[in-house]
């Protein structure tokens, strides 16, 4: 997982490259570098974050350049392993996102032919291969080099003395930004929004030549025209605007995200997409596949779909599912990925399609890889999410799942009308949680003092407990475990004492009495309890050490408000601990490697 950029135009390239790279840091940030073609190729790279490298580097001359921000997958984070990588002559610079699986053979072969390697990365074979094939035409050399490569790539290539960039992609994202007398290449759209909102998405195995006056894209050697898209996002949406962290900003955007997602789906509870065609496959079961936070959305989705559609739903982690022998052939499948680039989810999608499944993708990124390979795509309207910890995209995925389930529900009309009314008021209900966050802040700061924390829930709020624990551990580095409340007795009870607080999500549904019993059991072990309860629920207050009241929203929608509470809880715990909330160590925003 890395971010790449390229610039060619009428401005000094260096400041543009750094600004774009800074916006790509969510994709990885263990090292970064740029190469600018001026008098020869000037290379600057180090094991630093973009903001640190900017301060270190002198102004390089040249109006063409490439840049890279890295998240190490092959070769440890170091200055030598940082991109760009050069060939032996130092004339060709390459930035790469992806994995070259046959790089060891290629490296051996190239070394035998006299090439000299400086890093442990897979990427470095690329500039040497291009050098090998170069006979006066850069794009032909790139095309020849890519024929030797197995694996995934998005690359931008620069050669000294040639006023062009060559770009190519396969299984990794790459877009081209169209400016006025200047053009851009980048891993995603927000990177270039400071300069232009006109974008061309490259397709699989496209090879493009970018000059400052235009782009020419070839596929299998023949020129092809790709459509230009205007992006409605403003760069404003990718900035913090007053907040201390993107995560807090994104948490506060959730009321608007819910509203925008709902407005995007229309007025009536009517199928927004043609699921019927998927139903024709003749099976009455569904399969959800996702990773990380999206997997938790899938688990909530299971409860919603099973209740409203009355059919069984299986939820799988994409990273595991890809190794299972059985795929559930011919099921209706829903894959969920915020970025639309999650490698495991994409692989699972391809595998399902090979087995004859129709796949519906839920994603936040228009034009992402998943949206182009899935049979149908349902977009969420969360806007770009910068914080590594997903918040608003999770809520938007839940709204999409609610809407989808309601569209095909077999529940009676009256119940659906009530649900629709609740759904429409959700933006305000979530706002209510945000407006009363001082109690949550207090609990978050309390949790910051502990090293081990359990999150428990039951039924539809069990995945909420899992997500709450995930949020806490990823940004505050506190060890947290999400558990189904009834499972505590089967082991974890041994860990409970006065130093292991338990956060209990209590819903007034058929799990209520059982949850109260669980809390009683926990209290007898002396563990502090923070309980999330519906407004007006008095009976938990006597048992719990802290009570966080959440607005009543009816049973099926409780995961939305409870999740927002747990997001804030994690945020304030991390803030109290002084953690780098938006960029937690060792993590990248979307995982584009398996």
């Amino acid at each position: 997982m890395c971010g790449i950029v390229g610039y060619i135009g009428n401005k000094p390239a260096q400041p543009v490259l750094f600004k774009c790279l800074a916006r790509l840091e969510y994709r990885g940030y263990d090292s970064c570098g740029i190469a600018v073609a001026g008098n020869g190729i000037d290379l600057q790279k180090d094991r630093l974050r973009v903001g640190e490298l900017v301060k270190k580097v002198p102004l390089l001359e040249g109006m063409t350049g490439v840049g890279h921000t890295r998240w190490a997958t092959c070769g440890e984070p170091s200055a030598a392993n940082a991109h760009p990588h050069l060939d032996c002559s130092g004339c060709i610079a390459v930035v790469h996102n992806g994995i070259i699986s046959n790089f060891q053979e290629l490296q051996q072969q190239l070394t035998d032919e006299g090439h000299h390697f400086l890093s442990q990365t897979d990427t470095e074979v690329l500039p040497h291969l291009i050098e090998k094939y170069y006979q006066g035409n850069l794009e032909e050399a790139v095309a020849a080099a890519l024929k030797d490569i197995e694996g995934s790539y998005a690359i931008v290539v620069l050669r000294e003395g040639e006023s062009k960039l060559v770009v190519a992609r396969k299984d990794s994202p790459l877009i081209v930004g169209i400016g006025d007398q200047e053009n851009f290449a980048a891993s995603d759209v927000p990177a270039i929004l400071d300069y232009t909102n006109r974008v061309v998405y490259l397709e699989e195995e496209d090879i493009g030549v970018i000059t400052n006056s235009g782009i020419e894209i070839r596929q299998n050697g023949s020129v092809i025209r790709r459509k230009e898209h205007k992006i409605p996002w403003s760069v404003d949406e990718a900035q913090k605007a007053g907040y201390e962290h993107f995560m807090l900003k994104e948490i506060h955007e959730q009321p608007r995200v819910i509203r925008d997602t709902l407005i995007g789906y229309g007025h009536e509870i009517a199928p927004i997409i043609d699921l019927e065609s998927m139903r024709d496959t003749g099976t009455e079961a569904m399969l959800f596949v996702a990773c990380g936070t999206s997997y938790h959305a899938g688990l909530v989705g299971k409860c919603i779909f099973e209740e409203l559609l009355g059919i069984p739903v299986r939820v799988e982690l994409a990273s595991e599912f890809n190794y299972y022998p059985q795929t559930l052939a011919k099921t209706m499948s829903i894959v969920i990925t915020q970025s639309g680039e999650t490698a495991d989810t994409i692989k699972a999608t391809r595998r399902l399609q090979e087995k004859g499944c129709h796949v519906l993708a839920i994603t936040n990124v228009v034009g992402s890889t998943i949206s182009r390979i899935a049979d149908l795509t349902l977009y969420t309207q969360a806007g770009p999410e910068i914080s590594v910890a997903s918040t608003k995209s999770f809520i938007a995925e839940l709204v999409a799942l609610y809407w989808l389930a309601m569209s095909y529900s077999i529940a009676d009309i009256k119940r659906l009308a009530d649900m629709l009314m609740t759904l429409r008021q959700l933006p305000n209900t979530v706002q209510q949680v945000l407006d009363n966050k001082s109690g949550i802040k207090q609990c978050g700061e309390y949790l910051a003092g502990y090293d081990n924390i359990f999150f428990i829930g039951r039924g539809i709020n069990y995945p909420v407990a899992l997500e709450g624990a995930l949020k806490l551990k990823e940004i505050s580095y506190i060890h947290a475990e999400g558990y189904a409340a009834g499972e505590l007795k089967h082991g974890p009870f041994a860990l409970l004492d006065k130093d292991t607080p338990v956060v209990a999500v209590v819903a007034k549904d058929n799990t209520y009495e059982a949850m109260l019993n669980n809390i009683r059991e926990i209290k007898t072990r002396g563990a502090p309890v923070i309980a999330l309860v519906e407004n007006g629920d008095e009976s938990v207050g006597e048992m719990a050490d802290f009570v966080i009241s959440v607005p009543k929203v009816g049973l099926i929608f409780s995961p939305i408000v409870n999740s927002v509470v747990l997001q804030l809880l994690a945020y304030y715990a991390a803030e109290k601990r002084g953690c780098p909330i938006d960029f937690p160590r060792n993590l990248a925003k979307s995982v584009t490697v398996e």
């Binding site: 403003s234 907040y243 506060h252 429409r424």
Partner: protein
């Protein structure tokens, strides 16, 4: 003059319940908060460098205004954690201001014309306006075009008295230089600090405006603000307008909204995004409706402000009312306008309908008496009558 400092940290206690969860500057009319109109007026006068002093419920302002990009301005935020008066607020902005700058309140409706003159002026100057029966502390005295007294002391401490008749008042809009900042620390309010400037022999010009400058003090003032904003509505119909809908006057309907058959809409009316109106709904002047609002059949809305995410059930009648965001009204609500006496800081005789805070839920056939002010998240069971003022989270059974 290319910079402005907007003071938007204040709460607006007399506007409760509408200011419990948002600062006064974020009270929303026709799809935009008061603060946004101020920022747009500045942009129209070519002032694009804006420092926003925020405090109370500042996240709401961050969410709405962002970096200013969408309004064509550049916004820097400065936080005033505790609201200790306008001089304190301005002193927080000290590090961010240039040699000359405008100071404006973020919670008054100000049009582009209103500030054209002072935007072009040199420091020091105060924008003044003639008003009827204003608060005594706002009244200024002028001699030969220069301010003699920027504020008058109250007769009694801790009360706000009225000065009868047509008076010239301070609009809270100033053109100042950095030198003034030295006077800030000893005085609670900017006018008081300016009095010390005058006492030291400083000259402050008075510039008078006749254009819109509207303050919102009490909940029912939101309706006059609505009237003023809707005067400049531009008619444009987005979304879906079904056949048989009658539209008269200036009506603005935003994208993804559907107006169903046989609705009758007489402008000025503004309807936001993603709403579902009708069939057979009557919307009369001057009404503004937020985003994601449902108004069910046979409902009449007149001269009212309806916030986002509100659902109004069938057969309701809503006149001269303010319904804040997220209210769920089951149906057959009767919120008829009438003259009534309301007690907030003394008694006020006003003609008004119902004022409902955020997230209220009303059962069917509720009668809301004129002048009722229901706190946020008030729940009212079916067939109940509500009147007077209820605190937040009241339950009417």
């Amino acid at each position: 003059m290319k910079q402005a400092v907007i003071l938007a940290a204040g709460e607006g206690r007399r506007l409760r319940p509408f200011t419990v969860n948002k600062p006064k500057a974020m009270i929303s009319i026709a799809g935009a908060p008061i603060l946004q109109y101020v920022v747009e007026s500045l942009a129209q006068n070519g002032i694009r460098d804006i420092v926003l002093v925020v405090g109370y419920r500042k996240e709401q302002i961050f969410d709405c205004m962002g970096s200013g990009e969408q309004f064509g301005v550049d916004i820097k935020y400065v936080t005033q954690e505790r609201q200790l008066g306008t001089t304190h607020a301005l002193s927080k902005a000290k590090a961010a201001v240039n040699d000359e700058f405008l100071v404006l309140p973020g919670d008054k409706l100000i049009e582009a014309d209103t500030i054209a003159q002072i935007a072009a002026a040199r420091p020091e100057a105060i924008l003044v306006k003639k008003m009827e029966d204003p608060f005594r502390s706002a009244v200024v005295t002028i001699e030969n075009g220069m301010i003699k007294e920027a504020t008058r002391p109250e007769r009694r401490v801790s009360t706000q008295s009225r000065e009868p008749g047509i008076q010239i008042v301070n609009t809270g809009i100033y053109c100042l230089s950095r030198a003034i900042l030295d006077y800030l620390k000893d005085e609670p309010s900017i006018p008081a600090a300016l009095n010390s400037v005058i006492a030291d022999g400083g000259k402050i010009r008075a510039l008078e405006t006749a254009s819109t400058w509207l303050d919102v003090v009490y909940p029912w003032d939101i309706l006059s603000l609505n009237g003023a904003v809707l005067r400049r509505v531009q008619g444009q119909l987005g979304g879906i307008i079904e056949t048989g809908v009658t539209i008269k006057g200036l009506v603005s309907v935003d994208e993804n909204t559907i107006i169903k058959s046989n609705c009758y809409i007489a402008g000025p009316v503004v309807i936001g995004r993603g709403c579902e109106i009708g069939p057979n709904v009557c919307i009369l002047p001057a009404t503004s409706i937020g985003d994601n609002v449902v108004i069910a059949p046979f409902t009449e809305v007149e001269n009212s402000v309806i916030g986002s995410d509100v659902s109004v059930g069938p057969g309701s009648i809503i006149q001269d009312s303010v319904i804040d965001k997220g209210c769920a009204i089951t149906g057959h609500l009767s919120a008829i306008s009438g003259e009534t006496e309301i007690k907030i800081d003394g008694y006020h005789r006003v003609k008004v309908g119902a004022m409902l805070g955020e997230g209220c839920s009303l059962g069917s056939n509720v009668v809301a008496m004129p002048g009722v002010i229901a706190g946020n998240y008030t729940q009212v069971k079916a067939l109940k009558l509500i009147s007077g003022q209820t605190p937040d989270r009241s339950l009417v059974v």
